[in-house]
Symmetry: C6
């Protein structure tokens, strides 16, 4: 991927940090399966499955650990 | 999501921190599947499944690591 | 849950810390499924399953990381 | 469990630390299912399953993170 | 593997760090199954499966924690 | 296991650290199932399965976090 999508891990607020964690989680998927049509077809498989949603939330939680540490937990 | 739901990771007590970890875990699900009707339909799938509940507890545990570190473990 | 069940992450010994990690793991389940009858019915599903027990042990391990860090690993 | 099985996280060597991580992983199982006969019956279920062994190794890895940090990685 | 594929964990940018995390995740697979033909045959199994892609993204997230810490989160 | 297989977590390079992480992951399996014949029989079960390989890579990633921290990420 030639474009710049991750210039920094620093965000203004915890909420923006959480949203960056979601971006990281999705990028992990896209690097593994770059074909957008395949990804769209797979969406119902996890977005309508309790196990799939919990698994997605877990990856976000792991990435949020990284982003939170990078931002010193926005302690101010 | 335009509303502010995560202004800070700081909480007064460990218990409030644990409850924030639950909020983070649920938000990870809601960002992935924003449709509330679908989420309601899926609830019995994990809330009545031992594996589903253990998986939910694991996501909470990961988020609780983040919140606990943010609060210096409420060491006082 | 209105009652106070987590006043502190500090424990006198590593073993008490491990037991607190178990409490945290169970609370993660109870917050997700508060109905005690349902929880009792689900117990055989994981307590008699090798996969279920390993998964339970993993959640405890993650929470024990948090409690151990909070207590500076009881290095004393 | 009334007996003392975890007086300290400190070990003399990394290898003893790894073995303590195994003890922690097994204790997580035993606290969840204290009946030794049930545990013996379940053993073939994971010890003869590739997935079960990988899952067991993962719990050990998580506990080894804790024990290693407690010992400052035996940097000496 | 005799060749040098990991001379350093330091990268110029977070994005390069994320890509190194992907490399680490793939190397973990290749060390376990070095046969390239088998790996190619298995690719559709996870690249066309929602669960498989989420699992791949999780391994990347864990390795990205390591690379991010190594680089002090590129705080500058 | 009476022999010494883990005298130190310190390695000269990140790549040797990654290989030590693989050793740790395998030892976690061997402590749980010491019978070499059983382990050989199980090998095709995970080495020819996409899910099994991703799971193996995840355990390596967790152990690599430990080894990397022990070596201060080979920054020096």
């Amino acid at each position: 991927m030639a474009d710049t999508w991750l210039p920094s891990l620093i965000t203004a607020t915890p909420q923006e940090g959480f949203e960056l964690a979601i971006t990281l989680s999705r990028r992990g998927v896209k690097y593994t399966q770059p074909d957008m049509d395949t990804l769209k077809q797979l969406r119902p498989e996890y977005a309508n499955s309790a196990d799939g949603l919990t698994a997605a939330s877990q990856v976000i939680a792991i990435n949020f650990q990284t982003v939170s540490a990078a931002n010193n937990y926005w302690r101010g």
